[in-house]
């Protein structure tokens, strides 16, 4: 017999109460089942988990830790070390505003405050209606267009407060339409 510890068990050891809303954890198990060797695979596994859920839910991270025989705190450490991982659900749109030097000197600060004001959230946060997540990032590599923001995969450059407002209004409209469909 093997000494495998189930998630259930460890959870109960840790006295963690089940959340009301349960997440389907089957995909996490599938991801790990598909591995031949788990050693050194933590980051790819977490990336796959993020692809499935859009973020890394705590329950999923715990399954990963338990099944890969790591401490939960260890996995959490990795998740918080790399900015690529998100621990809370993200908005339908990801808005990244550049705070690099070039953008900064050409008025990036105004753009950022405008965005924060319009969205009502700060760096690393998501609007309550899940419309968008906002992040400040270092140089986006488009300094010629400074100040720059990225909305999902599109870059928007040479912005000012007015232009920013227009772009955001458009985004909101598109989002509403899409959701109505």
């Amino acid at each position: 017999m093997s000494a495998d510890v189930t998630l259930e068990d460890v959870k109960q050891d840790a006295g963690i109460e089940e959340e009301e809303e349960q997440i389907d954890l089957a995909p996490v198990h599938r991801i790990i089942d598909s591995l031949k060797e788990t050693k050194g695979m933590l980051i790819p596994v977490l990336q796959d988990v993020q692809t499935v859920y859009g973020y890394v839910p705590e329950e999923a991270a715990n399954v990963v830790a338990d099944r890969m025989r790591l401490y939960r705190s260890q996995v959490y450490g990795v998740l918080t070390f790399y900015t690529q991982f998100h621990l809370t659900p993200r908005g339908r749109h990801i808005i990244r505003a550049c705070s690099g030097t070039a953008c900064h000197v050409r008025g990036g600060k105004t753009v950022i405050s405008k965005l924060e004001h319009m969205l009502g959230i700060g760096h690393g946060e998501t609007t309550e209606d899940m419309f968008a997540s906002f992040e400040k990032v270092a140089c986006l590599g488009a300094c010629g267009l400074a100040p720059v923001i990225m909305i999902d995969n599109d870059a928007h450059g040479t912005l000012d407060s007015v232009k920013t407002e227009r772009i955001m209004d458009n985004l909101r409209e598109m989002d509403t339409m899409k959701r109505a469909e």
């Binding site: 259930e8 109960q12 705190s73």
Partner: protein
């Protein structure tokens, strides 16, 4: 060996030594933060930098190994500047709140800033708001004060194997915290608290109570489990504020403790402590003076003695009290009352196990010390939840196993921490450990793997053993034990070829399905494979009680005078009679169970119970209640008004561990000092003193003036304690046998020969547990949990924040069938009784079993346990007939406490009536 010169001083050190350790050997002080004696080098804080000649950068001395001819300077201007810079950077964000910090006065940062820092900072002070964890029970974490040395992270991993913390995030916002920043939810050993150099992790109980520099440390021995950790009780006035583990040559715990040792002390200050002697008058316990109480008892005993003889009185001694208390207790019973009716809880499981060791090896004690585990290369843990029952011993096992020095084979029907780290985990059916061990031995003999040389020269009885094992082959036993034959064969081969095997077996209440037979079978295995009588190999039975070994050593056993000297041996008895100046009874007395039976049957008229609560700790609560009810005189000497005390005619308030002097003998025969740290409350007196005064009240002077004088008498009367003196114990514990003052004590028994010459293997028949009939489909597994020790620690507020109530464990498959969910309440019905408890659905327990912790008075597990099997096999197999869900209201209506209160009321009424009818009887005392 390499030669290194540090600050002009030369030393030779072995290859691999770090510069820091070489410096320490030279008594050169190099400041450190992240370095820790028991952790792997980490090299993160850079406080320990030194200059090495011939190179131009600074080296972190804690990670850099010495090279031959190295020349190091630890105190140059450059080094000084570097250290100042480290401190300066730390102080840019470390809050300056020393006045309110619990670590103030023993903070490494404070000390080093004082010593090495400068009085100004170049970078100013940056305020950052990090999390303060106010939610964890027992331990609080203030991340603002954290200097990220990682000691907590590493100790929780490397020592504790819990991994509760890790570094999270990176750069400036880096913190150390549990997964997803949850409140801590771990073993609460507090190793991290003790390791934290600053005030970032600290005891919640301690914070904001007293400044560290006003506390006086008192070195003593933990009063909870059999490991006997050395600790400092930090006291001020008459109060214990804080506890730290002690790490030096005289301690056996490396400074580690468990949650009980570190946080359990609060029971001492519980407001429910009884502080006055009480005598029952008109059904009520009323306070009296000590003299009145003694007088009352003396006359009660006199009356019983004159009417029914001394053997109508009996006494239960305590596996919690000191050796001195136990010694005087049995002396009181034997020399003053004149009966051998004296026994203890050791009778249930622990003493029978020791008997098995005596029959096999000649000595009723563990063969090896716990520290000797560091030499084993295979550890066989049988029904041993060691990390919960004997925590710090469990850490030694984990260390040995995780470092790869030993293999671990765990035979445990419950899934517990050790099974997680075992290379082989055999989840045998409860109560089948004998069958399992027999199978292993059968394989060894069948495959010719026994240690032939050892068998030939040191063992007898092998042929009978071989004969008896016909039919014990693992293939035949598969159904019984539930373990695949091949697994057993492999385990057998591993054990036979390991070289140095230590067998751990937990006995007593913590492991009700082990007993004499398990130990006997394990002894056979040790003999057959030659795993006894050498370093790293032997059998160590474990106990959840701090002084069960001492209690037995002192003669709190119906058939033995102190030191296992039989009462029936005329020569020995005569010698004791000479020493004690009285005639002693020559027939073995009634044992613990015998006394309860005799009392229930009306033959035993009076009992004196010291530091024991049979109503909650003995099997068959109903029978115990019956017995207590019938007694004419019941004296209970305890700290609290226990369930048993509710039935008492006289209650004597006694002091507890931190309030008295004396010695404990831990589970590996190590005799250690217990020291008084505070005065006991009210009129409370030490047990030894009560017993001395009680003797005097009955006309016998034992001439004792202090606890340490009792130790003097003990060492005169017990040959294997003869060389132990208070002076020697000041420095360190001593493992008995220690026959002479110049004898170092004995960590490993039976080198070269057994006391009786040869070791004896004995056939051990396997008796299948009598449960699993259609009527009793579930098996009760009473046991212990990490956070408590007996019922005592349930009087500690802090520990109750972690575990405040009994939670029974039921396997998901049973839960499904019974339609039960976690947090439901159930009623368990056995042949003997009923108890109600909350359930948790978990795979920790096997299907068909219910685990119930025994610590909680409102869930009396012993109400379910019957006597018969205990008497027969020393075991307590209990079948559970029904498990039913109960609703909250019904539960409240019939709570055990209510029922108990009713019973007490009944007796009181009865006694009152009796007094009214016949005038004051024995229990009236006039």
């Amino acid at each position: 060996m390499f030669t290194i010169t540090i600050d002009g001083k030369k030393i030779q050190v072995p290859r691999g030594t770090t510069i820091l350790n070489a410096a320490r050997e030279l008594d050169i002080d190099i400041p450190t933060f992240c370095d820790h004696k028991y952790l792997l080098p980490f090299g993160s804080c850079r406080m320990c930098v030194v200059e090495v000649e011939g190179t131009d950068r600074l080296f972190a001395s804690c990670v850099v190994p010495v090279t031959d001819g190295m020349e190091v300077h630890s105190n140059t201007a450059r080094v000084k500047r570097a250290r100042e810079a480290v401190l300066e950077l730390l102080l840019t964000y470390h809050p300056l709140e020393c006045p309110v910090c619990p670590q103030s006065g023993r903070c490494l940062l404070q000390d080093l800033v004082f010593e090495h820092g400068r009085d100004y900072g170049r970078f100013g002070h940056i305020e950052v708001e990090k999390r303060i964890d106010h939610l964890s029970p027992l331990i609080e974490m203030n991340q603002n004060r954290c200097i990220l040395c990682g000691r907590c992270v590493r100790i929780c991993d490397e020592v504790q194997a819990e991994g509760e913390f890790d570094f999270a995030s990176r750069g400036f916002p880096t913190v150390v915290e549990p997964s997803f920043a949850k409140p801590m939810n771990c073993e609460f050993c507090g190793q991290c608290v003790q390791a934290c150099p600053v005030g970032s992790l600290y005891s919640r109980i301690f914070k904001h109570t007293a400044p560290a520099w006003e506390l006086t440390p008192v070195r003593t021995t933990c009063p909870f489990c059999g490991v006997g950790c050395t600790l400092h009780l930090e006291v001020k006035g008459n109060h214990i504020y804080h506890v730290l583990g002690v790490d030096d040559e005289g301690s056996n715990n490396n400074g580690f403790l468990c949650c009980k040792g570190r946080f359990g002390y609060e029971y001492v200050h519980h407001p429910d402590r009884i502080t006055e002697p009480m005598v029952r008058q008109d059904g009520e316990l009323v306070p009296v003076t000590w003299e009145e109480a003694y007088d009352h008892i003396a006359r009660g005993i006199e009356k019983i003695r004159s009417q029914a003889g001394p053997d109508a009185f009996g006494g239960i001694s305590s596996a919690r009290c000191t050796n001195e208390d136990n010694y005087l207790f049995q002396k009181f019973m034997r020399a003053v009352v004149g009966t051998n009716n004296v026994d203890s809880i050791a009778r249930f499981g622990h003493f029978p196990g020791m008997e098995a060791l005596r029959k096999a090896f000649g000595v009723e004690a563990p063969t090896n010390s716990l520290n000797d585990l560091q030499h084993s290369n295979l550890i066989l843990a049988i029904d041993s939840n060691i990390t919960e029952d004997d925590h710090v011993a469990g850490l030694k096992v984990l260390k040995q196993v995780r470092s790869g020095k030993a293999k671990l084979i765990a035979a445990n029907s419950r899934r517990v921490k050790v099974t997680r780290f075992a290379q082989t985990w055999m989840q045998h059916k409860p109560g089948t450990s004998v069958a399992l061990l027999n199978s292993i031995i059968a394989v060894i003999l069948e495959e010719g793997l026994e240690n032939k040389k050892f068998c030939q020269s040191r063992v007898t009885g092998l042929e009978e053993l071989r004969e008896s094992l016909k039919g014990a082959e693992p293939e035949r036993m598969e159904k019984v034990t539930g373990i695949k034959a091949e697994t057993i064969r492999e385990a057998a081969r591993a054990i036979a070829s390991a070289g140095k095997v230590t067998i751990l077996i937990t006995l007593g209440g913590a492991s009700p399905y082990t007993g004499e037979d398990t130990v006997a079978a394990a002894a056979n295995l040790a003999l057959v494979t030659g795993n006894v009588g050498k370093v790293g190999a032997g059998i160590i039975p474990l106990s959840e009680y701090n002084n069960i070994q001492g209690c037995m050593d002192m003669g709190a056993l119906a058939e033995f005078l102190p030191g296992y000297q039989p009462v029936t041996d005329d020569g020995i008895r005569n010698w004791f009679e000479g020493q004690w100046g009285v005639k002693l009874p020559s027939q073995p007395g009634l044992d613990a169970m015998g006394m309860i039976e005799a009392a229930a049957g009306g033959k035993l008229k009076g009992m004196y119970i010291m530091g024991e609560n049979p109503l909650s700790s003995f099997p068959d609560q109903e029978r115990v209640i019956e017995a207590m009810k019938k007694l004419d005189l019941l004296v209970v000497q305890d700290m609290f008004l226990t369930e048993t005390a509710l039935f008492a005619d006289v209650v004597l308030p006694s002091s507890c561990g931190p309030e008295k002097n004396g010695t404990f003998t831990n589970t590996d025969r190590r005799v250690q000092r217990v020291r008084k740290a505070i005065d006991s409350p009210g009129k409370t007196r030490d047990d030894w003193r009560i017993l001395t005064e009680m003797s005097e009240a009955m006309g016998y002077s034992n001439g004792i003036g202090s606890a340490m004088e009792v130790l003097g008498e003990i060492t005169r009367m017990i040959p294997f304690y003869a060389g132990i003196t208070p002076e020697r114990l000041e420095k360190s514990g001593i493992h008995w046998p220690c026959p002479r003052p110049d004898h170092p004590g004995t960590e490993v028994l039976h080198h070269d020969r057994f006391p009786s010459g040869l070791g004896r293997t004995r056939p051990v028949r396997f008796h299948e547990p009598k449960k699993a009939t259609a009527n009793y489909p579930y098996l009760l597994i009473p046991g212990t949990i990490l956070y408590h020790s007996g019922t005592t620690t349930t009087m500690a507020k802090g520990l109750n924040t972690v575990a405040s109530t009994a939670v029974a464990e039921i396997h998901p498959s049973d839960a499904q069938e019974l339609e039960l969910e976690t947090n439901d309440w159930v009623r368990l019905t056995s042949l003997k009784g009923i108890t109600e408890v909350k359930v948790k659905v978990t795979e920790r327990s096997m299907p068909g079993t219910v685990f119930v912790p025994t610590h909680f008075r409102e869930v009396p597990v012993n109400a379910l346990v019957g006597y018969d099997t205990v008497r027969e096999r020393g075991l307590t197999y209990v079948g559970i007939e029904r498990i039913e869900r109960v609703e909250a209201e019904r539960r409240a209506g019939e709570s055990q406490v209510t029922r108990l209160k009713k019973t007490v009321q009944e007796i009181q009424d009865k006694k009152r009536r009796a007094t009214e009818e016949t005038g004051p009887g024995v229990s009236g005392g006039k």
